[in-house]
């Protein structure tokens, strides 16, 4: 057991910290889930890309620096420590990219990844549908084969598409074999949202931002080159992405440690409060627990052990910790908790944002089923 970082890792940390100190936008950018904010965020992400910090763990040819998982973690810790903005490119980088690395052709990798890293193309996830939320396998949107032009025609409706109103591209699952049921006969497509037949309608989220979209597809043409993996194998391809979303890559411990530290600052700014002190301590310990569980998992990942259903435990823990951290902040703020402005207004916005955690990427109820059935081996029914 060796709990120290190497000199190279420490150098990398120093480089990240120094660059972020100078470059993180002050004052903070407006929400990236508004049209104006999204544009401002893309500028920031461009700067990050130019410093080769946008996708540190990717190969150099696609804009990364071949960083190890440890370096990626270090980058994330520094990123959140510096109070840097939420990444509006994250659904592409964290959800689509791992799938492209695993299933994409060299042509797809070369075409998609660099523009994703630079923010030139932005990706949203088109999985949920009005009747397919927790029950993802109930997808009804169709992909009809069009042999005449060597491609497919997509029709249907996707919903709860995060930042769908601002993104340029969508990745999603469509039913390519109308006779197959549930998770059979689905295909994974990459869709340019500027294509003819696409209509996007922004939907306002709890926090007032237009962070969701409904995407309507009416006979939208997609070429064979934009099928990811094999036709009708979309479920297996998508499940790799699901692992990423639930697991390590989306929610780095740096985020919750930074929130816990802000909570401690808030606690101090309000004067000692014996009624809430213990809850602050407990929340901080939980953020530490999350960090060390991540180190444990990363060590195994580095040694080639792939996390399976364990990632469901991670998703439940971070999403409920995030809610707890913000609830506690609101309790500390007392009568000022409802305010959206001033020094502390970010806590209420953050609370609203945190409330999405236990719902998206598979509700925590579904995750607990997965933990019971696949980690503990309890009977499905």
């Amino acid at each position: 057991m060796d709990l120290s970082f190497s000199p190279e890792e420490n150098t990398f940390r120093a480089e990240c910290r120094a660059w972020l100190e100078v470059n993180v936008p002050r004052p903070a950018l407006p929400s990236g889930d508004t049209r104006a904010g999204f544009t401002a965020h893309l500028e920031w992400e461009r700067a990050l890309f130019e410093a080769r910090l946008a996708v540190v763990s990717w190969p150099q040819e696609f804009g990364g620096r071949d960083a190890s998982l440890w370096e990626w973690l270090i980058f994330e810790e520094e990123y959140y420590r510096a109070g840097a903005p939420q990444r509006v490119t994250q659904n592409g980088i964290f959800l689509l990219a791992p799938t492209i690395f695993e299933f994409g052709t060299p042509e797809q990798q070369a075409r998609v990844l660099p523009k994703m890293a630079s923010g030139e193309q932005t990706w949203c996830q088109g999985w949920s549908e009005p009747n397919a939320g927790s029950d993802l396998a109930a997808i009804q949107s169709r992909a009809a084969r069009d042999d005449a032009v060597g491609g497919w025609r997509l029709s249907g409706q996707k919903t709860w598409t995060t930042r769908g109103a601002f993104c340029t591209h969508l990745f999603g699952l469509f039913r390519s074999d109308p006779d197959a049921e549930r998770h059979h006969g689905l295909t994974y497509f990459l869709v340019d949202l500027a294509s003819a037949g696409v209509t996007v309608r922004g939907v306002e989220r709890l926090d007032g931002d237009e962070g969701f979209a409904e995407v309507f597809l009416d006979d939208v043409f997609v070429a064979d080159a934009d099928v990811l993996g094999e036709p009708n194998q979309g479920w297996a391809v998508a499940m790799a992405t699901t692992g990423s979303e639930r697991g390590l890559t989306l929610r780095s411990p740096g985020r919750f440690l930074a929130t816990a530290q802000r909570l401690i600052d808030l606690y101090h700014s309000r004067g000692d409060d014996p009624q809430l002190r213990d809850r602050v301590v407990a929340a901080y310990i939980d953020a530490e627990a999350y960090r060390w569980q991540t180190f444990w998992t990363v060590t195994r990942a580095v040694e080639g052990v792939r996390a399976g259903a364990e990632s469901s435990m991670v998703k439940v823990f971070w999403s409920e910790l995030d809610v707890r951290l913000h609830e506690l902040a609101l309790d500390l703020l007392g009568p000022h908790a409802e305010l959206l402005d001033g020094d502390t207004g970010a806590w209420m916005k953050g609370y609203e944002f945190a409330l999405a955690g236990p719902i998206y990427a598979g509700t925590n109820e579904i995750q607990r089923n997965v933990i019971a059935e696949r980690v503990l081996g309890m009977p499905r029914r």
Binding site: S128, N131, G133, S134, D135, A138, T159, W160, V203, E204, R205, L206, G208, F212, D273, Q275, L276, L330, D331, L333, G334, P335, H336, A337, E338, L339, L340, D341, G342, G345, M348, E352, L355, A356, P358, I359, Y360, T363, N364, E365, R368
Partner: protein, 300 residues
């Protein structure tokens, strides 16, 4: 001992509910989010005409000379529809304090909701007349709660009278939280009966059932404390009522959102109107810390 309401009290409550179901729909509340006042045009007059605003005022001053027990059921209804009106502030706090029913009152310890549309403002600092204050608007997460910092030179007020008025407002706010919890629970039960996933209504899943059963239990054990406090007007009873009603409302809001999933997370759906009100009220008229401290000082 008879711990129940009279038929007359229930009938009055039902009449107010009927009014509010027509005049304070989700669409009305949405309007208040964006209009100039944060209130529903005409609603205050209708409530005044029914006698709701002046329930606690002497008959000679235009009131009904009723008690907090009569009023508490009505305030629960104003919570149930998230009425964007200073009704607790006026009917429970201000009217008996001023002993008259014709002035709208806004009050809070610090940030005062609907202060711009009130005739009289009362804060910890004292009493302000409408035309002698400077108001600085601050945005609440609940768009229909127009909050203001109040600046000016207050007139002193009688501490005991204010304390009694505050306790009535605490009970009234607790009653609103019960109404909000009931509304969010009802909406969610209906939604989970209709919404199907995996081939069945999601309300048939045990996890969903247990979330909502827990919310229902919390409400079941909060309400009697609210009604008891309305009858005794004891400050410690008021604090117990607020503490449990806040807990029920916050727990129900969490359960409601979680059981709705993504649709509950949009502002197109109505749940957020009630959820955000419950978040704000939980920290208004004394938050959990204050009320637990008051109870603790009495029992420990």
């Amino acid at each position: 001992m008879r711990f129940a309401f009279t038929d007359d009290q229930i009938a009055f409550r039902d009449a107010v509910r009927e009014l509010l179901e027509k005049e304070c729909t989700p669409a009305h509340v949405r309007e208040a989010w964006t209009n100039a006042t944060g209130r529903i045009p005409g609603l205050w007059e209708k409530l005044t005409d029914m006698g709701v605003v002046g329930m606690l005022a002497p008959e000679a001053r235009g009131g009904l000379e009723l008690t907090m027990v009569d009023l508490v059921l009505i305030l629960e209804e104003t919570g149930r529809c998230a009425a964007p009106e200073p009704i607790v502030e006026t009917a429970a706090f201000g009217v008996p304090l001023l002993e008259r029913a014709d002035r709208t009152v806004a009050t809070a310890r610090t940030l005062v909701p609907w202060a711009d549309t009130a005739d009289v403002i009362v804060t910890e600092a004292g009493r302000f007349e409408r035309d002698a204050v400077e108001l600085v608007a601050r945005p609440s997460v609940d768009g229909a709660r127009r909050l203001f910092e109040v600046r000016g030179t207050p007139a002193p007020v009688d501490g005991d009278a204010i304390a009694a008025a505050f306790d009535r407002a605490v009970v009234g706010t607790a009653a609103q939280q019960c109404g909000l919890a009931q509304r969010m629970l009802d909406m969610t039960v209906e939604y989970t009966k209709e919404r199907r996933q995996f081939g069945v209504p999601i309300g048939s899943f045990q996890a969903v059932k247990h979330h909502l059963a827990n919310a229902r239990i919390a409400l079941e054990f909060a309400r009697p404390l609210v009604y008891r406090a309305a009858a005794t007007l004891d400050p410690v009873h008021a604090s117990m009522a607020k503490y449990k009603a806040d807990e029920a409302a916050l727990m129900t809001a969490r359960a409601a959102l979680q059981c709705h999933g993504a649709i509950g997370y949009t502002t197109e759906y109505d749940l957020h109107l009630y959820m955000k009100r419950s978040w704000a009220l939980a920290r208004s008229m004394g938050d959990g810390r204050l009320h637990r401290s008051r109870v603790g000082a009495a029992i420990l």
